[in-house]
Symmetry: C2
Subunit: 121 residues, 2 copies
């Protein structure tokens, strides 16, 4: 799993980790604070944090023996970009297909035109 996007998606595929992200969105927290609500060992939480860190979703600094965890917002942009791209394509195509189906009750056609006008902004 080399690429960044895969690590990000994989990191967020776990509900516990998504929950941690949600908590961190409200402010930095120590490992102990994050571990609080979950019924797992501190080591497990530490591992989750490592996964999030490797994905670039959080960063850990040092404050005495505490390791405050900070949510990195930039990564969300990466996902949003990926998402928006295909979401728009798919929705646009969906609208177009719907249109095509209405004007073509039977038979087949060679190939759809590369583009059409009138797509909403």
């Amino acid at each position: 799993m080399a690429d960044r996007l895969s690590r990000v998606f994989a990191a967020l595929a776990d509900p516990t980790r998504r929950d941690m992200v949600a908590r961190l969105a409200a402010g930095d927290a120590t490992v102990n604070e994050l571990a609080g609500p979950y019924q797992v060992t501190l080591q497990a939480v530490s591992k989750h944090l490592k996964v999030l860190e490797d994905a670039g979703l959080v960063s850990r600094t040092r404050d005495a023996q505490r390791r405050p965890v900070h949510l990195e917002a930039e990564v969300f942009d990466l996902m949003t970009k990926w998402l928006e791209r295909y979401r728009r394509e798919a929705e646009e195509r969906y609208r177009r297909l719907d249109d095509v189906l209405r004007s073509m009750p039977d038979d087949v056609h060679p190939a759809p035109p590369p583009h059409e006008g009138g797509a909403p902004t």
Copy 2:
């Protein structure tokens, strides 16, 4: 992995599956067509498709012996909602923290209550 969002994120954590989604955004395709560019067996592709289907990202219909795969755009909304929520929170907080740091060169952490107690042992 019961919840929908986890399945969606997990499905997209694989570059091959993201690639398939990208391809499907341009139009429906059969399993064979999707398998084309990848150096894996048809069965592996079929499995990937099943993962995407279980996540609600695609649907499979029947056309003679072909099984055309269709991208379901709605699911992207689910992710976008989740993303946007925390992205906004995090960025807002980031801006706020930045401001706070400037007016607070040292000292004075809120130091949340050391609640705790119990758990294991």
